[in-house]
Amino acid sequence: MSKPIAVNGDTAIAMAWKQINPDVVAAYPITPQTIIVEAYSDYVADGLVDTEYICAESEHSALSICVGSSAAGARVATATASAGLAFMWEMLYVSASMRTPIVMAVANRTLSGPINIHCDHSDAMGARDSGWLQIFGENVQEAYDNTLMAFRIAENMKVRLPIMTCLDGFIITHALERFEPLEDEKAKAFVGPYQPVRPLLDVKSPTTYGPIAMPEYYYEIKYQLVTAMANAMDVARQVMAEYGELTGRRYDLVEGYRTEDAEYLMVAMGSTAGTVRFVVDQLRAEGKKVGAVKVRLFRPFPTEDLVALLRGKKAVAVLDRAMSPGTGAPLYMDVVEAASRIGSPPRISNYIYGLGGRDIMPEQLSSVFGEIIEGRGERVNYLGVRK
């Protein structure tokens, strides 16, 4: 049996990578991700892994190296956050369209400005249309578990897309928590050996990666991402089921909590999902019919799963740890789109919270439930902002 240990989220991800032993890790350090690549470079220096570890001079270069390595036939991992992810912008789209199944930890940190190192999801949300899969964890255990599952989902032959394993900066990356890693052999067996597709180093089957595609072909190449994303939904479901059998930790694309007889729901991603369940328990004790929904897989967005959870509810609050100045935030938009498929959809409001690492407290979430129960609240609300 594996033993529970206490580590922070970044270290847990480095431990998962160590078990998987990718062929190449190319990275550039940035808070709050730095511990991941720092810990991993220790494993390399200590000879515990045989990964080719490449210190790039920037995130743009780091992801470029990952793309080249993946095309060459390597299993590749990297990590970034905030401005680092933004600096990868060009290569995010290239890596997705070139179908390089890179696994990248994103230690969610806000984007400047004002410059700020703390948590929100604005970095990952900016990359939501790039063609990367995005999976969010709630705590250290999930950051680790999502990492092992991420390799399986991304590398599946029906998917072959890069994936971001997102974890809340500082809240998960730096907080010490008890978690249970798998035994090395179990983790290795679950992830399995890497299967490259037409690697560049196979000189008997010469291949050109990433050629130009003019108007006659560009659209069709892009449409391949749509097909791969649709496949990823089923693959993610299967991988999560298999991981549940192995570990007893049952995950799903979207997870409902006390939703069955609930009339009011709160939807969240990342570490706040736990706070929402805590508040749901408190309000349930007062007899209020409330429930929580955690979105684990954000890209592809599990619309049908959301529809099943939202059907018949009176009102829903969607918590977004990011903003889209001038309209509602990304998670809200996707939830509203899902609800539009329901005959009499619930009233849905958006609550922006926690920007730049602002704490989110249980009392605030209780008052949000109070607002949606009473039918108050704007379409888009800025929780706790001093106007």
């Binding site: 369209s97 070139m98 179908r99 072959r160 597709v197 037409r198 089957s205 010469p206 291949t207 050109t208 990666y209 990433g210 050629p211 595609a213 006659e216 072909y217 069709e220 190449i221 449409y223 391949q224 097909t227």
Partner: protein, 94 residues
């Protein structure tokens, strides 16, 4: 216009057949085409040396015209020709 559907193209548009750029008719990009006046041409082959797309046809060391399937109409041949034997003409104009 190409006719392959998204699902029949290799992943990410990778090219898995070496040398298939021969079938890519870059001549379709051309807005002006070079035309040679063989009365003035001295067969010095300066055009053949300069052509970046290997589109000057040569037989027995004689300049024989252009390979219009690949000539992009850049006009370098006309610019370099010491005998002023090459003229650039608008495509689609008689």
């Amino acid at each position: 216009m190409a006719d392959e559907g998204s699902s029949s193209l290799p992943l990410g548009g990778m090219i898995i057949e070496p040398g298939n750029s021969r079938r890519y008719r870059t001549g379709e990009w051309r807005s002006q085409r070079p035309e040679v006046d063989k009365e003035k041409c001295t067969n010095c082959l300066t055009c053949w040396i300069y052509c970046p797309d290997n589109s000057v046809l040569v037989e027995n060391e004689k300049m024989m015209g252009f390979k219009y399937s690949h000539c992009k109409g850049c006009g370098i041949c006309a610019n370099q020709c010491p005998a002023k034997a090459i003229t650039m003409r608008e495509e689609g104009v008689e």
